[in-house]
Symmetry: C2
Subunit: 360 residues, 2 copies
């Protein structure tokens, strides 16, 4: 049989707890559908700093490169926050994105009907919200030259934001293609009234737009987008933007839905077609404050497995089964503490995982 290799990076904080539940789901998918997965665990982030002296050991990169897909828990925590740059978990995150060529971060923000009350937005505003942020992930101010120097007015720091047309074109084409498979609307977000990189971004988007005549394109300034996400979230379909803006807007969009513990994400390379390599992870972070207590919500990580099945393996049956199982368990009223109204009735991480596996 066709054995799929999955690199599993549990990471820090609640990472290992939520990843453990996702692995139960992998096993269940093998049982139910005859698929076969080989998982290989690798150290990454804070734990890799502690055990190997670097957030992204070469072995970890090798494991990822030899895998068909990567499942990531979460990385980081206060323990490593004051480390020098090379010894910070985030440096590992940026490093793995670059090393694996994952230039496209897909973050769906959907509303789970049964969790609408968890959003701070009015239900009628949220109604029908189902958007996807396509964030450029390996360029811009994240990766440009950085420096410190003495200037006229004391010490100064510099970050450089660079984009070339090739980088802009490949992410924009992916976004157009994703929009074609959805509601055929694309909002390209930039700050073209101020930034040169944004002007190149907008020119490039406009140049390739005629190749996707079925997609309705709008340009939205980033400050306006931060407002419109609040005012009319359901009017967005696909949003494509550069790295820094995408970081901010995708978190805002995720929080809108009230379902942040439930949202999965994919980081992809040259293609989002079936069979393409991808790294899958929950949108939420490592939540050091609740780590090790069995309180974390494993659903975002479990849904990351469903996304992996859909995008990388083309296992629609198993992906459907996972998503249906999650919906069923939630409909039955089961909740982890983060989404529970009555916290005293909340399930533990593994209880939630077990219920979802049973519902598959």
């Amino acid at each position: 049989t066709d054995v799929k290799k999955i690199a599993v990076i549990a990471g820090d904080g609640i990472g290992p707890e939520v990843v453990a539940e996702a692995e139960k789901v992998l096993k269940k998918a093998e049982e139910l559908y005859g698929y076969s997965f080989e998982t290989e665990h690798a150290l990454f982030g804070g734990i890799a700093i502690d055990e190997k002296g670097t957030p992204l050991p070469q072995e970890t990169l090798d494991v990822c490169k030899s895998a068909d897909a990567v499942l990531l828990g979460a990385v980081g925590g206060p323990k490593w926050d004051n480390n020098s740059k090379e010894l910070r978990p985030e440096t590992g995150l940026l490093g793995i994105r670059k090393a694996l060529g994952l230039f496209s971060n897909l973050r769906p923000a959907v509303v789970f009907d049964c969790l609408k009350e968890a959003s701070t937005l009015k239900p009628e505003v949220l109604e029908g919200t189902d958007l996807m942020v396509v964030r450029e992930l390996t360029g811009g101010i994240y990766f440009g030259e950085k420096l410190r120097r003495q200037g006229e007015h004391g010490e100064e720091a510099v970050d450089t934001c660079v984009y070339n047309v090739t980088e802009i074109e490949r992410i924009t084409r992916q976004a157009f293609e994703i929009a074609q498979k959805r509601r055929k609307k694309l909002a390209s977000v930039d700050k073209a009234n101020v930034l040169e990189t944004s002007r190149l971004w907008r020119e490039t988007v406009n140049r390739i737009a005629p190749d996707y005549p079925d997609v309705e394109l709008e340009h939205v300034l980033v400050d306006n987008c931060a407002m419109q996400l609040l005012r009319r979230p359901s009017s967005f379909d696909v949003i494509v933007t550069e790295n820094m803006f995408g970081d901010i807007l995708s978190d805002e969009a995720a929080m809108l839905t009230g379902s942040i513990g439930m949202l999965a994400s994919a980081s992809m390379g040259d293609s989002t077609d079936a069979g393409s390599f991808g790294l899958y992870e929950p949108v939420h972070g490592s939540a050091p404050d609740i780590a090790g207590q069995g309180l974390a919500n494993p659903i975002a990580t479990i849904l990351s497995v469903a996304l992996m099945f859909r995008l990388t393996f083309n296992y629609a049956d198993a992906a459907d089964a996972i998503e249906a199982a999650v919906a069923k368990v939630l409909d039955e009223g089961h909740r982890t503490a983060d989404i529970a109204v009555d916290k005293s009735q909340a399930l533990s991480t593994s209880q939630m995982g077990d219920l979802i596996v049973a519902a598959m």
Copy 2:
């Protein structure tokens, strides 16, 4: 008597309409309190491009420099959007900020109780929201070197983000001082896990924090801040951040309140003490789609006059009177179209202005 000179820049779109109402308020304050204002109108933005060939004519700058304060309507519109950089209204805006040394942009985001229904947030989440974004306005990626060049992968564009300790220190001290006069909480927003400028920002904030022991300081990453503004808006008091992040977060914060047509802002230089020079303008833009129809809400501009009275002139009596008049008119149920539930009952721009003047 002490004549205060106010440079009035009506600008584009709805700018002239809302500024006209603010001028009625100035007149009324003269009548009621014996103050004396000399207003001088100057061309700026799109209209200055059309009439003078530049968005910021030297005469306009001279008028502003010789004034005690500037009242600005709004600038920009689709007519000038595709102009070259030197002929765009935004270039004038950046130019005037720099030329007048207005490095600090104060944007209060408050909820008007009678307008709570206009927010897309649940009323219980919004309850008690009263925050102020202090945005650095003359540094960062807005003003760093920009260029286009041919690179290995085709054309590329570069923006440079630069901050020195002097720039960071002066804005942070202002934010601490403002927090001291409010609820004594300061959130400094950066992206210190990625950007060098943010690391210098955080170091500088931490270095000067001991000078303000009565203010509770937290550091919040910009992506997390975009989420927390949605999750717990009322927990913020003062937020200080760099130019680009401030642009995005202050618009998000303004939209949260549901009162965007009602929010005033001040751009200040070396001091926010009484007597300091400042430029005052509504948070909303030039709204070209409704310009010239008498539909615009003049309240944000009228409240900008109140802010000018408070910050630059120390005319607390007149400032109080304006704010009370606005509250009274709203309490009586008067609405312009943007905030009206029943649009057919909406007042025109000048009807609203007249009611507020009458209520003073």
